[in-house]
């Protein structure tokens, strides 16, 4: 199913044209943000439900802001803190919400594949995956690509739209940390690969398994060896519980070997982009100072979340019509 008028479930199945469709549309929505009245009537009368079965204030706010700027009615259900029990089937929960009459569901769920299942349960409702387990976080992947293109295009003094996918060809993207458990990494890898970038992942053997090579990425286990190679460094959040399990001996050791420290930053070119999907564990995968370094585009990522999510909602729900 195509993105326009359909769902956004995973970036594994999205074409280059669809990715550029989102990025170009998002670019036009950045303007909206700069107006005095930050609203367009694109989704007037449409109902968007944000269903968060897992806490995520940032992503939820970003989506809800995006939906409101498109003039949609937003039903917000923080299921993680509501009365929905773990025992209730996903189908029942969705059926309950569907009965309210919906055009779209923005779904965050702790289980991989939940968005695909919901799209099967309610096929006539547009489903936007806002992160499913360890599988995908497609809008994060799209806003990361958007941010990279935006910054690189600015450096050339052109708009992103004019460059299409050109700026990604041969771009060296390094993804650092807990790739195994990261839905952001899966979405980033999918979008960057599709756009023609060269990708390396680096992390300990437990978190950056060699089997990742089958995705067309190069796997490394030594950050210092690959650090200077990168045009873009994408850091991943490491869950604190990983440090106490069998994946890494401790967060301190992880940080020593795979953290972007001030010392490592000194070796990174001033042109390199440093990215993080947030929330950051300052002092673990990223040093306090590094997060605020000139190469860091973390705040841009957050800001771009809204126009990219506006673009996704607009394209899926309205099929790109009615502006």
């Amino acid at each position: 199913m195509s993105l326009r008028g359909g769902h956004l479930l995973s970036l594994d199945t999205v074409s280059v044209e669809e990715i550029l469709d989102v990025l170009d549309t998002a670019e036009s929505f950045v303007e909206v943000h700069q107006r005095t009245i930050r609203k367009v009537p694109a989704l007037t009368g449409r109902v968007v439900a944000s269903l968060f079965f897992e806490e995520s204030t940032r992503t939820r706010l970003s989506f809800e802001t995006a939906a409101k700027r498109l003039s949609a009615d937003v039903i917000s259900l923080a299921v993680a803190s509501s009365s929905v029990k773990k025992g209730e089937s996903l189908r029942d929960t969705i059926a309950t919400v569907e009965a309210l009459g919906l055009d779209a569901v923005v779904l965050r769920h702790r289980s991989s594949g939940a968005a695909e299942q919901v799209a099967r349960f309610v096929p006539h409702v547009h489903v936007v995956n806002a992160g499913d387990g360890q599988h995908q976080h497609p809008t994060q992947g799209l806003l990361d690509a958007f941010t990279v293109r935006q910054v690189l295009a600015e450096r050339r003094g052109v708009t992103g739209r004019e460059t299409g996918a050109e700026l990604f060809r041969g771009l060296r993207v390094l993804i650092v940390g807990d790739v195994r458990h990261s839905r952001v990494a899966r979405s980033d890898i999918a979008v960057y690969r599709r756009l023609g970038a060269e990708i390396r992942v680096v992390g300990p053997g437990t978190l950056a398994p060699d089997a990742l090579a089958k995705w067309g990425v190069t796997v490394s286990h030594d950050l210092d060896e690959v650090l200077e190679w990168a045009d873009v460094i994408g850091l991943l959040r490491i869950q604190s519980e990983r440090g106490s399990g069998s994946f890494v001996p401790s967060l301190e050791e992880f940080s020593r070997h795979f953290g972007l420290s001030t010392e490592r930053l000194a070796r990174v070119s001033p042109d390199t982009l440093i990215m993080h999907p947030g929330p950051m564990n300052r002092g673990v995968e990223i040093d306090h100072a590094v997060a605020d370094a000139p190469q860091s585009v973390v705040t841009r990522q957050v800001a771009n979340g809204v126009p990219v999510r506006m673009a996704v909602l607009y394209l899926t729900v309205a099929g790109g019509e009615g502006r």
Partner: protein, 433 residues
């Protein structure tokens, strides 16, 4: 009418097949031969079909007691006869577990009221908790021949060793679910390229092979009889075959789903493909098929595991593991065998499993004899299998209470035409009677 003649089929023996009729009376086979005089017996058309011993499933989750929303002994038995079975071995992971004489007696009692013979695989340990031995001696005295904690394996090697030692002089066989629980922690599908892509926790093939190797080493030391349930890796099969070549009394089964579905079936996150051990990589699926065609697999068992639709409407990681098997196992096995191997089909689905469960002996648990030759004097537990009929699986038309089949919409070749249990025609022209 109890007098019937199965007319015009191909009678499948232990090594050859030949055209013939089978005359049945009083639950027994009276005569086998060409152009038998029916003497007014009911004629049952078997033209173009294979007549052999009805199938015996070593591995059926009938869910009673405690799980009758998903299946009952009655509904599971119906699914069984539609699939060509005359005997099922009920697995012990019920609630309460089949770990005591009263519970086992109750299941056998309900089985007697069903359309086929129900035998029991009782628990090895109390509550299947892997700690204290269940009353193996009392249950063996009752006639129980198979014991397993299936659902899970006996994780503690000391407990498994004691169980083997205790079981050996009783003459019974322990059946193990081989998956190391620690290696499978958090795992919901085969560990590999697909689990990584889908972001689902993995159950590595090594978890099975390690436990197979461990139990074979224990068996070498203790002696006794071991059956390995649902082997899903070619290496597991090699280990079992090597152990048997040494003289160990080990038997094993594979399931239809591990023969025809690989891990990529999980790609759309439909929990109907979630099963333990998980659907494996293509390499193992192909290798198991090769072993099957080479005659190196002992038995095909279904691991028929009904679950309610509600439980399969959950996310993949939360849904229970297991899928239906009874109604399609024969056609799927037939497909993997290549479509023209009647002797092997009946060996895999009837003769060998009957011997592993000791159901070839009349009288065990008060049941009739299964998996025998199609000759005069044998109990008339027979199936008539049409090797060329093609049909499409429809989950809305199953005899099982549940509908969690991964084969919905699949075209199958080969179908059970008639099933006879103790001479009674339980399925006629594919329809339950």
């Amino acid at each position: 009418m109890s007098r019937r003649v199965l007319r015009g089929g191909i009678v499948v023996g232990p090594s050859t097949s030949q055209r013939g009729d089978v005359l049945i009376d009083e639950g027994r086979i009276m005569a086998v031969g060409e152009n038998l005089d029916s003497g007014g017996a009911e004629e049952v058309d078997c033209t173009g079909a294979w007549i052999g011993p009805a199938f015996v499933d070593l591995h059926t989750h009938l869910r009673e007691p405690g799980g009758d929303a998903a299946e009952t002994i009655t509904s599971g038995a119906r699914a069984g006869v539609v699939g060509g079975y005359s005997a099922l071995v009920a697995m012990p992971n019920t609630d309460p577990a089949l770990d005591s004489v009263p519970v086992v007696r109750d299941v056998l009692e309900r089985g007697r009221a069903s359309v086929l013979d129900v035998a029991v695989c009782a628990a090895i340990t109390v509550g299947r908790r892997g700690e204290r031995l269940a009353p193996l001696g009392d249950l063996a005295a009752l006639g129980v021949h198979l014991f397993s904690d299936d659902g899970t394996g006996v994780a503690n090697p000391q407990v498994m060793r004691r169980a083997l030692e205790y079981a050996r002089p009783l003459g019974v066989r322990l059946a193990q679910h081989c998956e190391d629980a620690d290696l499978c922690e958090g795992g919901v599908m085969n560990e590999g390229e697909w689990s990584l892509r889908l972001g689902l926790g993995g159950r590595p093939v090594a978890a099975e092979e390690i436990m197979v190797a461990r139990d074979l080493d224990l068996l070498r030391w203790t002696g006794g009889r071991l059956h390995l349930l649902h082997l899903s890796s070619a290496r597991s099969v090699s280990l079992a075959l090597a152990a048997r070549a040494e003289g160990l009394d080990v038997t094993f089964e594979v399931t239809p789903h591990h023969l025809v579905l690989d891990e990529s079936a999980c790609a759309d996150y439909d929990p109907v493909t979630k099963v333990h051990p998980p659907l494996r990589g293509r390499h193992d699926v192909d290798a198991l098929g090769e072993l099957l065609r080479d005659g190196r697999i002992d038995a095909v068992a279904t691991d028929h595991a009904p679950h309610t639709p509600e439980s399969k409407d959950r996310p993949f990681d939360e849904a229970p593991a297991g899928l239906l098997g009874l109604e399609h196992a024969a056609a799927l096995t037939h497909e993997v065998l290549g479509g023209d191997r009647p002797v092997d089909l009946f060996r895999l689905l009837s003769r060998t499993p009957a011997r592993i469960a000791r159901l070839h002996e009349r009288g065990l648990l008060g049941l009739s004899a299964h998996g025998g030759d199609v000759v005069a004097g044998e109990d008339a537990n027979l199936v008539v299998f049409d090797p060329s009929e093609t049909w499409i699986v429809d989950r809305a038309r199953l005899q099982s209470r549940a509908n969690n089949t991964p084969y919905h919409g699949r075209t199958l070749t080969g179908r059970v035409r008639h099933t006879l249990v103790r001479g009674e025609l339980r399925v006629r022209e594919g329809d339950l009677q």
